[in-house]
């Protein structure tokens, strides 16, 4: 901190203080203080879309960016533990939670799902080509420090309880938390 200049109550002409700050250094410092940020809203629960989201997230994280993923609606299926039944309070939501299968490995393709056949074929091709799928990419994302936020409103709406989600969800929050993050970010994507 520079010492505060003495207060001058009379109008006085003073020479501007010479600055020794190198603009390049100042810019570097500024960038260091505020890392590049990326936020992704993952609304879709389609395997291809969620995969794209994770590819962008992991890519950004390895470029040194701070990444936040906000999971809502069908996107929540990606962060559900597979095979865990819902413990929602009322039967309607319990039923919904039962019908809407979750788990990173069970997401269907947005096209050519063909009752599971298309998706299985796609996964086979990916495995043969050593391409990471959603579960693997999710692990990498966690490893790289990507923040996961689960939307509490849609959790309730879809009969998904917190205890049926995977470990490592950083926050359970709503739109304000997302917007507070997005406001600071340079890249905001809705998938």
């Amino acid at each position: 901190m520079r010492p505060q200049p003495p207060r001058v109550f009379f109008c006085e002409v003073r020479s501007m203080p010479t600055t020794k700050l190198d603009p390049q250094v100042a810019l570097a410092e500024l960038q260091e203080r505020r890392p590049d940020r990326v936020t992704l809203v993952v609304l879709s629960g389609d395997m291809d879309r969620v995969m794209s989201a994770f590819i962008i997230a992991t890519g950004a994280a390895s470029m040194g960016m701070q990444v936040t993923m906000f999971f809502t609606f069908w996107g929540l299926n990606a962060i559900r533990r597979p095979g865990v039944s819902s413990k929602a309070a009322d039967w309607l939501r319990r039923m919904f939670g039962f019908l809407n299968k979750g788990g990173a490995d069970t997401l269907p393709l947005s096209r050519f799902h063909f009752w599971g056949l298309g998706t299985r074929m796609m996964k086979l091709v990916m495995r043969r080509n050593r391409m990471p799928g959603v579960p693997e990419l999710m692990e990498i994302a966690k490893d790289l420090g990507v923040h996961f936020i689960a939307c509490t409103t849609t959790l309730g709406l879809m009969g998904i309880t917190k205890d049926t989600l995977i470990d490592g969800i950083d926050q359970f929050a709503g739109v304000s938390t997302y917007l507070a993050e997005a406001k600071e970010a340079q890249v905001n994507l809705f998938i």
Binding site: S62, M63, R130
Partner: protein
């Protein structure tokens, strides 16, 4: 080209080469050169872009015919 550490990402697709490179470069000291070998053509553009964002120095790219596939060798100098 001279390098200190090499990273084999053959057979891996985007974003794996970049993720692996970002982890590997942490093991290097400033000034050392990392070689990343990939057969994914995207690395030709991705590696310079990654370097630009992370502040590391992109030294160059070599292409090598290897049977039916091309191996792309990129060289990155750790700068910070």
């Amino acid at each position: 080209m001279h390098f200190d550490v090499t990273l084999d990402t053959l057979g891996l697709f985007c974003p794996m080469p970049i993720i692996k490179a970002s982890k590997k470069i942490k093991e290097l000291t400033v000034g050392q050169v990392l070689e990343v070998i990939s057969d994914d053509e995207g690395i030709k553009k991705d590696m310079p872009a990654w370097c630009e964002t992370t502040g590391h120095h992109f030294l160059g790219l070599e292409e090598e015919q290897n049977g039916g596939t091309v191996h792309y060798k990129t060289y990155v100098k750790k700068s910070k």
